[in-house]
Every structure is written in structure tokens, then in C-alpha cells.
Symmetry: none
Amino acid sequence: MSKHIDIISIGDELLIGQVINSNATWMGQKLSSLGMKINRMEAVADTRDAITNALENAARNARVVLVTGGLGPTKDDLTKEVVCDFFDSNLVLDENVRRHVEIFFEKRGFDLTKLNFWQAMVPDNCQVIPNAVGTAPGMHFEKDNVHYLFMPGVPMEMKHIMESWALPFFKELCQPEAFVQKTVLTHGMGESFLADKIEGWESELPEKFSLAYLPSPGRVRLRISARGDDEQDLQRELDNQIEKLHAEIGLLIYGYDDDTLEELVGKLLLKNNLSLSTAESCTGGMIAQKITSIAGSSQYFKGSVVAYSNEIKEQILSVRFEDLEKYGAVSEVVVLQMAENMRNMYSTDYALAVSGIAGPGGGTPEKPVGTVWISIAGPQGSKAQKFLFGGERVRNIDWAYQTALNMLRLELL
Amino acid sequence: MSKHIDIISIGDELLIGQVINSNATWMGQKLSSLGMKINRMEAVADTRDAITNALENAARNARVVLVTGGLGPTKDDLTKEVVCDFFDSNLVLDENVRRHVEIFFEKRGFDLTKLNFWQAMVPDNCQVIPNAVGTAPGMHFEKDNVHYLFMPGVPMEMKHIMESWALPFFKELCQPEAFVQKTVLTHGMGESFLADKIEGWESELPEKFSLAYLPSPGRVRLRISARGDDEQDLQRELDNQIEKLHAEIGLLIYGYDDDTLEELVGKLLLKNNLSLSTAESCTGGMIAQKITSIAGSSQYFKGSVVAYSNEIKEQILSVRFEDLEKYGAVSEVVVLQMAENMRNMYSTDYALAVSGIAGPGGGTPEKPVGTVWISIAGPQGSKAQKFLFGGERVRNIDWAYQTALNMLRLELL
């Protein structure tokens, strides 16, 4: 019996390329991190034939079939009808789901519509899987020894059902080979240079290990995984390999797995009871936005001044007019004043300042697009560093935010 | 005979979620914009069985099968072997490809390896499609009236082969029906309520039209498309339908297709020579960041104050201490002062202010998580409005930013 998993995503929007299939990618990550093997991912149209076909194909080879999309309350969602034909079911009103939908809407002060009641109609031969974050429940069937789980296509709802029910259930069911993995997050060296630097380490990795490079602006993630018989042994070997890697490139490593720089910086500030503010020009508030995306950030983050014009740099951040004239806004002198004055104005222990040319306009031969100055002011004084990033606007802004937070992280260590 | 297209992407990296399948999305966009129908997209593993299975499935229903991946020179790329079995071919050296590969490497100053010669070995019964931007050529087969095209998985190479050969060839072959489409972007009403509101319009849509709902926080996109004989007629009918829809829900529509609120607001400000600043609490700088993601935004955006603590609201934004004490930071009184004082401080025509409880902490029975006040101060005075959004932090922040920009857009019209 195959232990493989098929993932089916329903929706015309995927086929016409309007929406990228990030649901399947997320499921692939989660399932494979538990050692489960995905056989295929398929995206199909919102039509009876296409959905039925996909289910029939899956039934031939898979042990588990995960389906998303087509469970909403509107007309174009006909998955539920097709499901009833495929599993020979009748739709019945599920009182628990009805009550959940009612409360869900009541809480938000909305009136129930006829369409919302449709969510509470479920096939009579499925196991209903609760959806705490939305109105359409998951539906679990077993037929001829194949398990099927239907979930809404809304990413938050799919993820909720996967994490609260499906991942543990199917792990137990499939009993996959032991599998361990860890992603090492590095900042400050490009992919090919990093590959050169760790060539020796990589060539000595045992057969059962695999390594993948995942580059993005300013960062390279290294995913190291291994399969084998015993999870504890594998974990020990993995830890051992990562220790060796750390000995080679420790300074470049800022975290592991899902760590983010904003989270790591937040933890360091919190632990040392320190506060932070930011003065942003070319990053336009992105550093503040990333820091405040972390729950509880109000305990260490006081706020930001986004100074997108020289006028505001002068009037609000008290940067000296003569220096703006003489050195320009993208200069060591100005970015240092931005950080120092920000620190005083918001009375924080640290202030981070960024001034640069994100592009596409504004570049000169001396200061081309991608030139960015970053400064930190703190209890021990202030410092500034110049960078020359890629070229494209959004990429430059992203790169500057990552680099600024990593500078602060290193400063706080 | 079906005119449908199947897209098959080969690669383990897709199945484990390491790489998102952007190739398939791009092909979907291009093909459907020419009126061609995609039947399904499938991602499969780099194994003999998986690839053969996918080809057999496709052969049953499709007229055209587009395959990417697995044509590189390294060990794990076995597509070419599988292809030879499937089409009963022998590999032969193609002199044109060999010369191309040689020149390709010479130009880049690389030495040819044995592996590179493998690129020049092609099945003897295929049409070789030149790849000017890489070394692995495309391979076109016809078998039992189904066309197959194999392309490299490198996005640039796939796009080159699609644009230079495949799109014109398959358009000629499939003679697709004329096709038009437009996506209507709405803000301010949930999916099921919107569906209720436009039920009459939807039910009178002619048969040839199709409608899809694409919801996300604060927004619902409505994709309307039509197929028929004559493109000009269809376009006229589509425009006509959209006019009718506009008459029903004009106030909810903020744009079309790829429009973003930050872009639309930027255009309105620029056109009227107006300037903007933002005072942000719970959005933490996101509004500023979105506005400054648009190139040229420095012409109308002066900056932002992110005031993440009451202290900063009082000291920097000059919100009255008594009001913060009496009404709390998330209140009409406070958000109005934030906007008005911001407008004065940065000397802008408009100022947008947001104060809310993003969660997960900080909620109370009177002001639950998701409560957000948004205010606009402008030349005609100021106004504020209260909202109660979903529940989850990142979603609430996203929702607040969309809503604030849409309020400003409506104000500027």
C-alpha cells in the first residue's frame, strides 16, 4: 500500500495564473518536514469533470488525498456537490456547524444570509473537522483504504485545519520513515561565495543527508535534512553537522528554521530590558512595520519617524540643514544625526536609522541606486555603515531592512 | 477533440515546498490571456513512475501537454530517458544543438564537460525547438493527436521557448475562442454579502460569461470573463456588464485588474498636487511602507510618525494627556488628534491616522481585539470612523491598512 500523499487544489484562478498556488507549497513544506512523501500536486478547474477526474486519479496511487478550495458559500463552489456524488452521500444539516456559523457571524455583528447556512450542510458519511477560524468545516472521508480531506481554500483556514487535525492524524496513519531537518539562516554572503566557503563541510556530509541552498536578498538559507531508521540518531547526527557548520560560518548565521530578524531582535531587546525606535527614509516604515508585526512588540518598540523628505529630516529629526546641503541625505553625517536625534527624541536605548536610494530614480554616478547608509545609536555611542545593494526598488528596500536588523542584532549580542 | 492544455512540472523541490511553482502560474497567465483553456496543472516527482504516470494521465484528456523541468545535465534529471520510453525514441546527437552548446560555453569562458554534451543528445523522433538563452533545447512530439512540448525548468529558458515558439504555434493549433476578462476590485463588503447584493446582476449574466469571487482581508476581487466568437463584440459586452455592475456597487469598487490602493491614492494625490503624511499606531508603519513601495512616492508623501506608545502619542504627536487617560488610545478623540496634529507637524494637505488593537493581547470587553479607529485630517476638516475587524494580528493590520487607504481614496474623489 502506497504511503504517498496527493494534494489537489481546486480553482480556475490557479489555472489562469491569477493566484499562485501557495497553499500546495505550504502543505508540501509541512508534510515533508514530518517525513511524509508527496506524490503529486494537482491544480484543477472548478468543474464537475475536472474535480471528479482528479479524485479518480488520486484514488489510484495515493494513501491520503488533501483537497483545498471550492467550499465557500458562493455559486462557483461546487466541490460539495461533486463530493456527494463521489462518496455517494446526501447533504444533511450539521447542528454543530450551524451553531458555529451563527456565533461566528454574531461575534462580528453580521447578519446571517441564506448562503451562510449552506456552510452547515455536510455529507452524511463524512467526519466533520471543525474550522475555528472560518465558517466552512473540513470533511474527512475514507473509501477503499484511501483517506480524503477537503478543506477551504482560504490559506488561514486551511492551515488551521492542517495544524489542528490533519498533520497529527496523517502522521500517525502513514508512519513515515524517520526524518529530521533544520534550516540554517545566514546573512551577509552571496550564494556562490557561501558555497565555496563550506565546500569542504558539504563534501563530507554522509549519504543520508541532503543540502539545499535557498537564496533571497541579503540572505541564504541552508536546508539540511536526513532520512533514516531512528529519529534520535538522526537528530544527533544533524546537531553534530550543524555544530561543524557553525564552526566554519558562525558569524554569518543569525538563526534557524522560522526565525525572523525582527523576532530575534525583539527577544534580545526584551531580555535586556532595552527599548528601540527607528528613523527611516528609503525603507519608508518597513523596519517599524516588521518589528510591530511581532505580538508584544509594544514592550520594547516605541515607534518610528519616517522622514521621506529633507524638510522632515530637518524639521522633525533635527538634521542640520548645512549637512543636508553639503553631504546630501544619503551620507554618513546625515544618517548618524538621524539615529542620534531619534534616540533622544523618543528616549529609547537604541535607535536605528536608514537613508538610501531605493530607485528607480535618484541615482548619481557617485551614489548609484542601491546605495544605503545604515546607522545605530546606542548607550555606547553611534556607528554607521555604507552598503551597495542590487538595483530594483522593492529588492533594495527589503535588503536594507534585513541588513539594518542584522546590524542591530550583532550590536545587541 | 479536446482543445485543453495540461501543464506538468517535474521536480522534487516543488513537492517539498522548497520552491513555489511560478512557472505553471506564468504559463497559465499567458495561455489564458490568448483564450486557451488549461485543464490541469500537475507537479510530480523526479522519478520514472511519476513522470510516466503524469504523461499517461495527460494523454487521456489534453490536446497539448506542456512539460517543464528535468532536462538539465545532472544526475537527477531523468526526463529524457523517460521520454524515450514513452515515445519509443532513440537518442541521437543533434549537430545544431552541439554547436550551440559549444558556442554558448565558449562565449562565457567555460570549458565544456562531458555532461554538457548530453544536452545535445535528443530523441530521433522529436522536433528540436531552439533555446537561445540556455543549453537544453525544447522537444516537441506529436503522438495520437496529442502534442507534447518538453522545456527546461529554468524560468528564463522556459519563457523564451514559450514566447518564441510555443505560444504562437499552439494558438494556431488550438484556434481558441475569443476571450476577454476583467477583474473588479471591491473593498468594504464581505464575500457572502456582496454575493447577495449582486445576485440579480449575476443571475442575468449571459451564459458565455463566468464570474469568480476572490476574497482577502477587507477586499473581494470579482473576476469576470467571457468566451465567444468575436473579441470586439465580447469586449463590448464585458464593458457593458461592468457598467451595470458599477451602477449597483460603484461605491465599493476601487479599481480594476492589478490596481493597488497605494497606487490609486498616489495618483490622486499627484494629480491634485496634494501631500500626505500618516500617524500610525497599530499599523506600525505599514501604510507608510505600502505608499513608499510605489516609485515616485516622494513627490506626494512626506513621511510618518509611528507612535507605538502613549508616551510618544503625547510627546511627539501632542495628543492631550487627559484624553489618553479618559478615552484611551483607541478612541475617536485620540485618533482625531493624531491626524490633525500630524497634518500640522508635517505641513501636509492630508494626514491619515490609525489607532487600534491588533491583538493577540490588549483586548477588553468594550474594545475587543480588532477594534480600530481611522481618521483623516484634510483641508475640509477631519473625520473618524470605527471598525471591528477579524481577530488575528497580521490580518487585522492588513485589513486596517487597506481600509485606511480606501477611506482616503474616497475622500480624495
